[in-house]
């Protein structure tokens, strides 16, 4: 659950900046290259120099993957309750409302129907910028419903993950979302309906330990952090430095947990090709 500490350091500074005064420029987190927004968009939000994949959300990913004009959003208005009346340094409800205000989103995932290269699918895309992409009851419910819709409509399911893990402010109910989403995917599997999981930076904790790892095919973007325990926790536990490239997409491919690493600009083509192999 590294998302919280991470948020202060990264969310504010990384990703796509749209409103920098004096021009729409973004700086690559990896090589420092300054890229104009137009160029960044046409390059699928990846660095023109080093291929670094900027963290993007549903607003950016929907046009990349889904045929123009075919996305029809579902459960767009679903918002989190506060089942535990959770308070730490801040009230959970304030945290959620703050995130809604800041991001314009209602929670950390958006779901809907759409087409990929003419093939009808059910789609879910997570937004890391909403409380670290953490999974509480809303994310769990929306993913489970997406899987149910895929089952009922006999359409392939595609989920793009980016998450720091389960949302601790909803306690054990957040944990139960791992079981809920996995159970729905088991039904999808029994019915022979394809599920493609796309893992982006970062995908850790409860999301990795449930739907993100359960694709018929698991695709990762290059260089994405993917794992169960966060690197900080592991480092703390074993008291040793972690090896270079540990828990990155390439590491997971090497260890057999990812089928293929795909550059964002080839993502749609790869998904479409796979879907043609997996559907009649």
């Amino acid at each position: 659950m590294a998302w919280f500490k991470r948020s202060k350091e990264n969310i504010e500074t990384s990703g796509v900046k749209k409103d920098i005064p004096g021009g729409l420029w973004s700086k690559c987190d990896k090589c420092g290259e300054i890229i104009h927004h137009k160029q960044l968009v046409s390059n699928y939000y990846t660095c023109i120099k080093c291929n670094y994949h900027f963290r993007i959300g549903s607003d950016e990913y929907i046009p990349i993957l889904i045929d123009k004009g075919t996305f029809r959003e579902t459960d767009a208005k679903m918002k989190s309750g506060d089942p535990l009346k959770f308070v730490d340094s801040k009230k959970y409800t304030d945290r959620v409302n703050g995130a809604i205000k800041k991001t314009g989103l209602n929670d950390a995932v958006r779901t809907g129907f759409g087409k990929v290269d003419g093939i009808s699918i059910v789609f879910a895309c997570m937004d890391f910028k909403f409380i670290g992409g953490s999974m509480g009851t809303v994310v769990g419910e929306k993913i489970a419903r997406a899987a149910e819709r895929a089952l009922k409509n006999k359409r392939p399911l595609i989920i793009i993950s980016s998450s720091g893990g389960a949302r601790m402010m909803e306690g054990a109910l957040s944990l139960m979302q791992l079981a809920k989403t996995s159970a729905r995917l088991a039904q999808l599997d029994e019915a022979g309906i394809p599920y493609i999981s796309i893992l982006t930076d970062p995908t850790t904790g409860g999301v990795t330990a449930s739907y993100a790892m359960l694709g018929d095919v698991n695709i990762a973007e290059p260089g994405a952090l993917i794992g169960f325990a966060g690197p900080r926790v592991i480092k703390q536990t074993i008291g040793k430095d972690l090896p270079e490239g540990f828990q990155r997409s390439e590491f997971l491919l090497e260890h057999g947990f990812i089928d293929v690493i795909v550059h964002r600009k080839e993502m749609k083509q790869t998904v479409a090709t796979l879907l043609k192999h997996m559907t009649d």
């Binding site: 659950m1 919280f4 500490k5 309750g81 089942p83 535990l84 959770f86 308070v87 730490d88 340094s89 009851t137 419910e141 489970a144 389960a166 949302r167 601790m168 909803e170 306690g171 054990a172 109910l173 957040s174 944990l175 139960m176 979302q177 791992l178 079981a179 809920k180 996995s182 159970a183 729905r184 995917l185 088991a186 039904q187 599997d189 029994e190 904790g205 409860g206 990795t208 330990a209 449930s210 739907y211 993100a212 790892m213 359960l214 993917i226 794992g227 169960f228 325990a229 926790v233 592991i234 536990t237 074993i238 040793k240 972690l242 090896p243 540990f246 590491f251 260890h255 057999g256 947990f257």
Partner: protein, 313 residues
């Protein structure tokens, strides 16, 4: 008598010790009246201490070093236990035990996380923290149970899945996800009991079932109070507040409609009388399995999936 005394139990233990001392002289002087009076007093004290536990105090009881673990229960409530080992892929994870056993004359598959009692056995058991091969070992045993149409009992008691380099290399996340996926469609009854610590995905990895039972002083949540404190309060010192905020006790979990039933413990916790705790658990397990045995496999799976799908808070 228990050796480890938690802070809040101290008044009870002091009085118990005083009574014990007095009993030594009982033969010489007639102090039975005084002893009786103190017995009554200690009883009242126990009632008042243990019926008003804070959430953090329950967490401490759940971690009590003398608390019964999986093997202690198996030994007390089952016969003919044949322990099975290994995941057939990589190795044998000692943080989880399991095998066939007889409960009330019937064959069952029992699987549970296992902690150690002292430093040496804790190292051997990795403090009850499983690696990926542990989840795969558990799944292999569950599939065996399914093949031979035997009900499954799982016992949850872990501070979490092991966060290590090798665990990640061998796919900790995939191993847990796969178990959640496979357990949701097992065609035999699955009864889950949280007997001690139910920490996050590491516990849930063997925790999908038809009935979720929880011992009175166990805890179950998405994160431990300490880790929650360190992340949300940015300090390890707010574990009491974190435990309160997480609402992680058995009554809390019943209220959240995650846990179906609380299993009563002897006053003061299961470690005060492991035999009695085991007998209570045994009766509950027999009763629960009897009810589940009436359901057809398809119905069982449908009900189980619906149960988890409905967990919305």
């Amino acid at each position: 008598m228990a050796k480890t005394v938690l802070d809040f139990e101290k008044p009870v233990f002091d009085l118990e010790q005083k009574i014990q001392e007095m009993r030594k002289y009982e033969g010489n002087v007639d102090i039975s009246g005084e002893i009786n009076r103190l017995e009554k007093k200690v009883h009242q004290l126990r009632e008042s201490v243990y019926s008003n536990l804070t959430r953090w105090q329950r967490v401490q009881l759940a971690r009590h070093p003398e608390r019964p673990y999986t093997l202690d229960y198996i030994e007390r409530i089952m016969d003919d236990f044949v322990e099975l080992h290994g995941d057939r892929k990589y190795g044998d994870d000692k943080a989880i035990v399991g095998g066939f056993a007889i409960l009330d004359g019937k064959s069952v598959m029992v699987i549970g996380q296992q902690k150690g009692r002292d430093t040496k056995s804790n190292v051997y058991r990795n403090f009850g923290m499983m690696n990926p091969e542990g989840y795969r070992k558990a799944l292999r045993m569950m599939k065996l149970a399914e093949k031979f149409k035997r009900p499954i009992i799982t016992m949850l008691d872990t501070p979490g899945a092991f966060p290590g380099i090798e665990a990640e290399e061998r796919g900790q996340a995939e191993a847990i996800a796969r178990n959640l996926f496979e357990m949701s469609k097992l065609k035999v009854p699955v009864v889950v009991v949280i007997i001690g610590e139910g920490a996050s995905g590491g516990a849930l990895g063997i925790g999908v079932g038809d009935r979720i039972l929880m011992m009175e002083n166990a805890w179950y949540s998405v994160i431990s109070p300490e880790s929650c404190s360190s992340i949300l309060w940015r300090s390890w010192d707010y574990k009491e507040q974190a435990a309160e905020a997480l609402r992680l006790t058995a009554p809390d979990l019943v209220e959240q409609k995650i846990v179906d039933r609380i299993i009563k413990e002897p006053l003061g916790g299961a470690h005060r009388n492991p035999q009695e705790a085991a007998m209570i658990l045994k009766d509950v397990l027999i009763e629960e399995l009897k009810l589940l045995s009436k359901l057809k496999p398809e119905k069982l799976v449908e009900r189980r999936i619906n149960k988890f799908v409905q967990m919305n808070g």
